[in-house]
Every structure is written in structure tokens, then in C-alpha cells.
Amino acid sequence: MIQELHDKLINQEITAVQLVEDYFKVIQEKDSKIQAFLTLTKVQALEEAEKVDKKINRGGKIGILEGIPYAIKDNILVKGVKTTAGSKILENYVASYDATVIKKLRNEGAILLGKTNQDEFAMGSSTENSGFFVTKNPWDLTRVPGGSSGGSAAAVAAKMIPFALGSDTGGSIRQPAAFCGIVGLKPSYGTVSRYGLISMASSLDIIGPLAHSVEDAEIVFKAINGKDQKDSTSIDVNFKDDIKNLKFKIKNLKIGLPQEYFVKGLDEEIRDRIEAIVQKLLNQKIQIKKKSLPSTPYALHCYYIIMPAEVSSNLARYDGIRYSPITNHQPPITNLHDLYFKTRGYGFGQEVRRRIILGTYVLSKGYYDAYYKKAQKVRRLIIEEFNKIFEDVNFLITPTTPTPAFKIGEKSTDPLSMYLSDIFTVAANISGLPAINLPIGFTKNNLPIGLQIIGPYGSDCSLLQIVKAIENMVKVSL
């Protein structure tokens, strides 16, 4: 889609201003029902679009993303724009600097139209935990769009925006992409700078694109990746080596099917659809091997120790004084102790409070070894198992989610059942691996089905090439 829009702009079939206005019109028509956006940035968007038009009129050459509208999840900072991360505690916070990804997209000339709804501080799998309102799934308004990047996924799926950025800590890009029937890429940990992303769990968080096609996701990933002085965990992906490797291997590609992902509880329609895709790959003479990752079922257990531990420490900064003070306490607060306790008690939603307490518990004296240290050991085991399996196969294919999009309210009262909707996505975060959701069809009830492809650490570019090939196969059969 990005290439198409780019061609229209350079052939002057449409102006950048017109393009921006057209998208705002679609947003105005559809968003009252879907509620994907928290903030719109129309004035700035039109100003930037005018600049692009002037450049085109002067006969200037424009880049592939120049003049292309996009949206971002509200936990990514944009200078001068409200950034809430879906939380009441940041209700009035206006960011004082641009995140590195924003700076990069700005340099490419992409145009920001708005910020999208999310579960508060990215904690949730349905966008029901937003401090403001619930986003609906464009395919069925009674169902959730997934989460936590639910606003970004719904906005792309409803064609309110060509692409959006989300963040993925345990599946928050891939799971909503699967529920909304779009492409969602979680890059290798560290390949995209986290500078300006509001921290949730720093050893797991990564920013990535949600888009209509794998090609679009690739265009965006190439624009935002790379080592950044401002994020010491960021790294450069070696594109050339990665692709060279792939060219050598493509004719004898081996794909693994980890049996632990095809267990009881997996929706039958999802299982059937994936089996049909696997059959197509076999017809193409691609080798498929059944594999086992015995420690992977414990990835979710590890996740619900490591993530809340990091959350409890990252969210300590919200003290009621910095960022977005809450001043309307009744009766008025007279001492610092009460200010902390009341602001954090009022400003954080229920799920955030639950995770802060859980994280405080697993890190507290007497429990640290049994929980946190144990989880970090199992994490090593899971990573080693993945590394070993990738000596034998190039990529792994799994379902992205155990079920299609569920009903609004269906899981919101039982935290554990909500947590289990991330069961197939968390392992890639625990081990830092790149993984992508590819839409592969629909259930009888017209709900999207997603396929997850996981690659070795740092193989983002070759992963995208392989998934493009699978995408073409799927398109033919849809």
C-alpha cells in the first residue's frame, strides 16, 4: 500500500495535503464507532503535507515514506503532543522530546496523524485496560481488537491509516495484528531504539510496525531500525549478511513446527487453517520438520515474574510530582507520604496496580531467589533451546493466538485467563527473537486468523523475505 500511495504522489494523481485530508475524513467517519485514536494532530499534519507538496511541485525527489500518513501508539513520545500511555496518571502529560523512532520517521518525511489507544502502560491483551475508553475490533464491534497495541491495529485494519507503530513486550503487536487481520512485526530485541518509548519491562520492550502487507512492514522497519547513542541496548542489524545467508539457503529452506504450540485449547479453525498453509509449503518442496521446545510452555510463567518485576521498578517514577501532577485531591493533601500513596492509588488502573504489587512481591526479601532468579534461569534454558533448534531449521511456524478475537468483557474479570491469550507470543520476547504475525484467512464467523513466524536472533530481514513469499501463497488461496 505504501508503494501505491508513493506512486500516486510522484505521479501527482493526489497531493500530500489531499491524502492527509482523505485519511482524516475516514477517521471522522469510522472512529466514533471503533475508537482507535486518543489524539489527532491535524494542524501539524497539514503543515507537513504542504511542505511535501511544495517539494514535489519544485520537481524534488521524494523518499518512499515522504508524505505517507501514519499513527503511533500513545506510549511513544512526540514533542509538544499529549502522551498518556493510556493512563490517567499521565492524562495531562505533554512530551518534551521526540522518541528516536519519531525523529527517524520525521526525517523520512512520514506524516503523523494521531496517537492510538492502548492498554494502560501496555499492560493487557484487549485494550480494555485503557484509562480512557475501549477500542472495538473493526471486524466485529462486540469484540476486542487485542492488545496492548489495539488502537494501532484497529486503525490500520479499518483503513483509517496506512501504517502504525506499536510496542511489543509479550505479544502486544502480534496478538492485536492477529485479531484484526493485519501484519505485525516484533523485531529482534534491540534492533529498534527504545529512546522515547515509555518503559514497561525494559528487557522485553521493542517498537515495531503494524501494516497492511509484509512489504509495508519492511519499509517501516528499515526506516526505524539501527543503533542509537541514546539506547545502550540498541544494535545494528547486519542486513547484507542476513540477506546473503538467505539467498544461499532459500532453495533448501527448513521450517520447524514446534509441537508445544499445537496443543489442546488451540481453536480448531486456526489449527485447520495453519495445516492448510503447511501443506502449501510442502507442495513448494519446502522441508517441514516437527520439532520440540520442551521449556517453551514455561515462557509465560517466566514472563509473569520478570515483567511485573521490571514494571514495579519502571513505574516507580510516577510519583504525582513529575510528568503530570494530579492536583484536585479532596480533601487536599498535606504531606509527601499521602501524595505518593493517593496519586498512585488513584492514577494507576487496576491491572497496573496488580502488576506493581506482584512485581514488588517477587523482588522482595525472601522471595527473590524463588521467583525472579529462578525465572531468569529458565529464561536462559528457553533461549538455549531456541538456539539449538535454529541449528537445524531456519524458521518456526506457530499460531499467533490460541483463539480468534474474544468478546468485550469476556476475560476482563479473570486476570489469569487474559494472561493466557499471550501464550504463543511471549517466548519470542523472553528470548529476544524476531517474530511476525501474518493474516492467513478467516473463521466461519468472519474473524481473522493469524500465523506467527519466528526467526533466529537478528534474522529480521530474511524473516521478512520468507514471510513475503508465504504471504503471496496465502493471497492466491484467499
Binding site: L204, H301, V378
Partner: protein, 85 residues
Amino acid sequence: MDFTEIDHLLELARLELSNEEKEKIAHDLAKILDYVNQLQEVKTNNLEPMAGGTFSKNILRDDGIDSRKLNLEKEGYFEVPPIFD
């Protein structure tokens, strides 16, 4: 988990909760801890805990001595240029 334990955690986390919510949180935490406790089944003898999601290490430069700034003649300590006059 009893109320005393919850209160201790709330004190550490600087959070205020209503009694009603304390009850709900205690119930939820018991369920979640039951679940994550299944990790004890996994054998992890001789495994070093990870410190993050990757094997990357700190990149540090080697310590070096800039002889122009130091007087190594005086034994036992470094002499550095004066900072205040």
C-alpha cells in the same frame, strides 16, 4: 496471602488501596502465584540466570594513563593539575 503481607507490599510500592480491592488483589495474587510457581518443576541446576534478553555485554574502553596529565614521580599517589586556584 493475608492483609498484613498485602499492606507491607503496598507500603513498599507506595500505593493506597481500598479494603475491598485488597481482598480482590490477595485473591488474584494467590491464583497468579500458584500458576507461576509451576516453574519449580523445571530443572535449572548449573544454569546462570540471564540479566536480560540477549547475551550482549557492556562495551568498555581499556583504562589508560595519560602521562601528560600525571606526575608519576611522586611515589604512592597521582598528582593531577589543580582544579581550583
